[in-house]
Amino acid sequence: MTDMTNNDPMKKKQVLLEIKDLKIEGYTGENWVPIIKGVDLTLHRGEVMGLIGESGAGKSTIGAAAMGYARDGTRIVEGSSIEFDGIELTTSTSAEKRALRGSRIAYVAQSAAASFNPAHKLIDQHTEAPVQYRIKKRLEAQEDAIELYERLRLPNPEEIGFRYPHQVSGGQLQRAMTAMAMACRPDLIIFDEPTTALDVTTQIEVLAAIRDIVDQFNTAAIYITHDLAVVAQMADTIKVLLKGEEVEEAPTEQMLKNPKEDYTKSLWAVRSFERPQKERPKNATPLVSVQNIDAAYTGGVKVLDNVSFDIHEGMTVAVVGESGSGKSTTARVITGLLPPSNGQVLFRGEPLPPKYTDRSKDQLRQAQMIYQMADTALNPKVRISEIIGRPARFYSGLSGTALKSRVDELLDLIELEPSKYYDRFPPELSGGQKQRIGIARALAAEPSFIICDEVTSALDQLVAEGILRLLDRLQKELNLAYMFITHDLATVRAIADEVVVMQHGKVVEQGPKTEMFTPPHHPYTDLLLSSVPEMDPNWLTTLLEERGVDNVGEAADV
């Protein structure tokens, strides 16, 4: 905490980083447009500041600027001032800045898997900075790395550093990267969304490790994230950003209890959407019935083991579990992309052919998919009208004006102005709009059942909420059934009627949502539920006390 009543008189508020009137511009191919429009930031020694905001708010850009670094295609505008421990970074030479990076300011990237060089062992990458700066000899640096691995509770600390990045799991890599940032005992670490790509259960261990190590060495940190609950665990102060400008800044507790600005309040209120839960109709044939499915990829081990669940008309079934639990594989089996090795899928009581090539057009149209990455799921070189029009033409045989009016109708359904979007290309749209086009494409086939594969996880919270509301409205109007694949339990709470929990390719628990969210749980469901960060700043501390520090994440395997 940064309040003046700090009971440790030695821990004086000494300014480490002072950013004044930071302006950054990005090159669009024609001209320079402002990305950061004059942000001030003051960080003291040992303080952790959380930067939050939606994508495009400029959080990462500010984080990089704190190291005097401007990514390719961006530049720091003259007149900005970035002063790190008395050194003005905007006027330093690149050699002077390089001398600070790694040694006094370190960086932890969002995706450790992409940020470790695949060609070198972890420990060689770890020791690179200390050896470069002649802070430590190579062997000394290696010993230090092993000690840090131990402190971060990595399994086999003696040996894990001698592996290549692809041989280590995501959560472990993220901790190894935190260890690497610590290699020279820097004064400041920039954490750029370090847990965003991780499962909730893995996220906890990384959060705990980061918090511990920052405490132990009294390192100052800038913690960048879009997840409020996470930042509440980590930060002393929170700064909220919107489109390159500061909205407000306050100590964490104050910010959580009394946000001043409307925008901040809207961020806090996001998780309010919830729709009433529906009951299963009695004695009805389920719309889709997955029965005793086993499946494996070519030559591989079984990834699905005796999976069974039903989806009834007009209802939403959420399938939850960590990555690798078989959620998406189940979807592939239902759509016929991956024929199961055992078991069958029934549609309105009739078995579907296992391979999609053997299914009739009418069987194919019934089950449609919406994907996680709208960016990659839409062909960037095809017009919106064609993306939506193609399934309408293929399944319903529409053409000419009938096709055009159908596309207009679909665009209306997803709340996009037809005349404005008809001739556009996907790259001209925002993330949320692209996801809406993905929904319209699924609707064009007039399905009765849609598989939503993590459709909101790549979106900002406000945008995601808009998508959830849209899906809910469409469900009511068109009596759609959804299979909602997600690892985000907040989404499940918001929209699901029934929940299926998967782990290691098996269904561990299933039932109506209310039952699933009331104890007693299956131990794995319990682990998942209790791992979702909450807004309470003491949540992580309490949880770690309950579980014990050595019993989180992968160690807590049940």
Binding site: M67, Y69, D72, R101, G102, N117, P118, R163, H166
Partner: protein, 318 residues
């Protein structure tokens, strides 16, 4: 490591099948030409009886399938039959020249490959500077000019005007290794100039392509100096495309050097191919084609294996 061994074995098998198909094409293409070997040997004035007798003697009356397998069986053990012009064994005619060509190719490669890759790394480091542009223009100029022209320019300056090197690279008598290198320097240099641009530009492109990767940004944010970012962090991940271009250029050094050999009167295999074609010496043509095909297949195979070996995911399985 077992995976890699099976992978190499598989590629090798595929290479052999490709070579087999090519041998069929080579053999029957020659068959398709008007006239046959007997006619070629005896010329225009041959009588029917003479032709028939020679055909009988050379086994040309057998069905072509049988002759193909006889030829293939011989080729496998290095026996390509007799030259119909000189009557010598084809293998004897070709083997010396093949060694000469391989020597020249190796000589050029030893200079060109390290030179091109180093230059590629330097221009990647100094990208978009004056040095980068000058290097690009110079190497592109050298690749765009015909080889014989480059050869003559080199002869003009390095042999005629300064007489530092001999203009003709004839290999006669016993030459010490140093003398050999000195004599063949100009043709080797010509080849170096021809193949450098390709390899240099691919090295540059492959490295620059990786510079936007998160791990390169991470290296920069760790304070790694620019040259080390390129050499230690980008280059190890850029090998696959570079190796492929290097292999293609090495194959070119062996199979595409006819003009250079003619300009410098170098007794290589390219020259014997041209001679054989003009004299309709089919066994020699077939042998040369088969050797060239094998060269291409082998070098591409080596490139594939090399690209696999530089991928840590395959070298160090989970």
């Amino acid at each position: 490591m077992g995976d890699i061994v099976t992978l190499i074995a598989k590629r090798l098998g595929l290479g052999l099948i490709t070579l087999l198909i090519i041998s069929i094409i080579i053999f029957f293409m020659v068959e398709l030409l008007p006239g046959d070997i007997a006619q070629a040997v005896l010329g225009q004035g041959a009588t029917e009886e003479n032709l028939a007798a020679l055909r009988e003697q050379m086994g040309l009356n057998k069905p072509s399938i049988v002759r193909y397998f006889e030829w293939l069986g011989g080729a496998v053990v290095g026996d390509f039959g007799e030259s119909i012009v000189t009557g010598e064994r084809v293998s004897a005619v070709i083997s010396d020249r093949l060694v000469n060509t391989l020597f020249l190719a190796a000589y050029a490669a030893v200079i060109a490959v390290p030179f091109a890759i180093t230059l590629g790394i330097i221009v990647a480091l100094l990208r978009n500077t004056l040095f980068d542009r000058v290097a690009n223009v110079l190497t592109l100029t050298s690749i765009s000019s015909p080889e014989f022209f480059l050869g003559y320019v080199l002869i003009l300056f390095l042999a005629v005007k300064s007489s530092a090197f001999p203009a003709i690279a004839s290999l006669s008598g016993d030459l010490s290794f140093g003398e050999l290198l000195h004599r063949t320097f100009l043709p080797a240099l010509t080849l170096v100039l021809v193949v450098t641009a390709h390899m240099m530009r691919m090295t540059r492109a492959a490295i620059i392509n990786l510079l936007a990767s998160p791990y390169i940004e991470m290296a920069r944010l760790k304070g790694t100096p620019p040259w080390k970012v390129i050499v230690k962090h980008a280059l190890p991940n850029a090998w696959a495309p570079i190796i492929n271009v290097v292999a293609l250029n090495l194959a070119y050094l062996i199979t595409g050097v006819v003009l250079v050999e003619v300009v410098f009167v170098y007794p290589g295999i390219g020259q014997s191919l041209v001679d054989a074609v003009s004299k309709r010496d089919f066994p020699v043509v077939q042998a040369c084609c088969l050797i060239f095909a094998a060269t291409f297949i082998l070098l591409n195979l080596a490139a594939d294996v090399g690209a696999i070996l530089t991928n840590p995911r395959l070298r160090h399985p989970k």
